[in-house]
């Protein structure tokens, strides 16, 4: 591991991107108790993040404990608040949180920080940034707006009505992406013939999302695209269009997992979608958390650190949330029939 860290530092200095001394590396073998708290249990992306976190834990030789716990989907917000409270009571070192409770969790997160439990968010941040040490962003929230707008543009053939099928109304990541997409649509004349007619919420429940997708088709007969920036919503919408034999008329796009989307991409129901690696996101979040809890980094803007196989990252200001800090992972991959089969294996 030391060799690995050394090699990375060398690599960084050889690339000449930064001064070698500036990049902070982890001291392996320390004991930090870490909890991975996703929005809820039971969907693939979060399990992938768990895999990435475990990979990082093994690499760092953390002698502390690691727990992957989460609430049920129906009880997501209240459950997250309860689990963060419990983790604070247990004096856990870090809780890695994909927040689904909006700012409702902020008081609990502040109490956690006050008691010495750090809160590192990933996937979905605390909107106000209160109680949050740093947010590990999967992708730049502004640039995802462009990708979403472009995918809608492609699938609608440049003009027509489309709707957004989101997760829950309080998911900060979803809201930020939708806002970013609206901004892109308004700012470039290229998109002037695209019309966003509605934003609905399926709460990341398959059946609810499925019904919301069908509801959209009923309500807007001229609908051309359903944009679902959530892995649960996009599968449900694609299945709904396939079941109703509407795939020629209404296309589905958004953020999805290749393994879950491959059949819909190949049969044309969802010709194009995007995603980043949740394994990497879990891995990077774990590194960030470990460095923070061991005091190697303070969580301040400008600090640069090495995160194992993924290279160097820097803490900067979150452009979407005043006063909040983020580590930007990026990039993402756009999947279509040319590359989805390979990625789904």
């Amino acid at each position: 591991m030391n060799k690995f860290g050394f090699a990375l530092t060398m690599a960084a200095s050889l690339m000449g991107t930064t001064l070698m001394a500036d990049v902070i590396t982890a001291t392996p073998g320390q004991a930090v108790n870490i909890v991975l708290l996703p929005k809820f249990l039971g969907i693939l992306p979060f399990d992938q993040a768990d895999r990435g976190a475990q990979e990082a834990a093994a690499e760092l030789g953390n002698t502390g404990t690691y727990q992957y716990i989460g609430p049920t989907p129906e009880n997501s917000a209240a459950g997250q608040i309860e689990m963060l409270t419990t983790a604070t009571t247990q004096k856990q070192g870090v809780v890695m949180l994909s927040n689904n409770a909006g700012d409702q969790i902020a008081p609990t997160a502040e109490a956690a920080q006050a008691a010495g439990t750090k809160v590192v968010t990933w996937d979905s941040p605390i909107p106000s940034g209160k109680g949050e040490s740093v947010f590990v962003a999967q992708v730049d929230f502004g640039s995802i707006g462009t990708v979403m707008a472009d995918m809608v543009f492609d699938e609608a053939g440049g003009a027509g009505e489309f709707a957004v099928l989101s997760a829950s109304p309080d998911a900060a990541n979803q809201n930020a992406w939708i806002e970013a997409m609206k901004g892109v649509l308004a700012s470039d004349a290229k998109y002037k013939d695209l019309k966003l007619v509605d934003v609905v919420y399926g709460n990341d429940q398959s059946e609810e999302s499925y019904n919301r997708a069908l509801g959209l088709v009923d309500k807007y007969p001229d609908l051309k695209v359903i944009m679902a920036p959530t892995t649960v919503g996009i599968v449900a919408a694609a299945k709904a269009m396939q079941d109703e034999k509407l795939c020629d008329k209404v296309k589905v796009s958004g953020l999805g997992l290749p393994a879950e989307m491959v059949s819909y991409t190949m049969n044309g129901c969802a010709p194009e979608f995007a995603l980043w690696s949740f394994v990497d996101l879990g891995y990077l979040t774990y590194y960030t958390s470990y460095l923070l809890a061991t005091g190697s980094i303070k969580g301040e803007i400008g600090e640069e650190f090495a995160a194992g196989r993924m290279g160097n990252f820097k803490i900067d200001e979150d452009p979407g949330r005043a006063g909040a800090k983020r580590v930007l992972m990026g990039p993402f991959t756009v999947y279509n029939k040319d590359n989805v089969e390979a990625a789904s294996k």
Binding site: G70, P71, N75, E82, T89, D170
Partner: protein
Amino acid sequence: MARLMTWEGLLALLFLATFAGNVVLAPEFLTLQNQINLFQLSIEKIIVALVMTLIIINAEIDLSVASVMGLSACTFGYLVTGGFPAAGAIVVCLAVGLVAGMINALLIARAGIPSLVVTLAMLIGFRGFARVLVKDQSMGDFPLWVTHLGQDALLGPLPLSLVLFLVFLAGLGILLHRTGFGRQIVVIGTNAEVARFSGLNVARVKTVLFLMSGFIAALAGLLYAARLGSVRGDAGTGFELDIITMVLLGGVSIFGGKGSMTGVVLSILIILNLRNGMALTNITGHIQTGVIGVLLIASVLIPNLTNDLRVRRAKA
């Protein structure tokens, strides 16, 4: 021995067992902060469970409580976000609770429609109002004193909501077990027809109960909003089932006429301790729900089975 064979006796044993189990398995369990958190995380439910006890003993049910909580919380969020002073908004929300209770009471006590039907309709109706108010947003940014009251210690280590719980527990316990009104609740719950013929004002008792339920549910909704610092349309969704679970496990008969505040308090303590213990030992949400479910099934089965047994023995 006979004393231990009562439902309360069994609950007390079960409570001691969960408590002891927690002490052994979770080192953090006995800390003061954890004991307060344990109540605080479910405080709105357990406050409403107290008034639900009276209603179920009265042989009625109020399925609309969680929706009234949501409506009250959302009304608060809506008004404060709209620039209305928070103190005034609290008064409005409590009034909303009374109006909700009055609607229930009129339909149940005066129009004679079964409470199951009325409050099921209101569960949907009041939730609908709440969602209309806040739409798909979340509303927050309450004044500091509101969140302070919702989150911080007020009396010694006790936050306001826990103080309120204790006050309601004492007040409603005395009302049920030590007053004429309490006896009327039980008598009507045992047999409303007989009660009516013996001159009791059944409609009045039921009206008072549903008004109390609406008011306390609205108050619980406000506490929920203050504790979390923001609200959304689904605030409190599904809480009614958890609340009814607490009451039934407490030995209150769903057919009315039977039950005690002691039983319900023990049942609340068991459920909270179980949840807390499972959380501290890192047992996930799905299993927690399962364990509570099994407990409820047992609470329905055991009294019936032991009853059967007794009847069979008597015959033999």
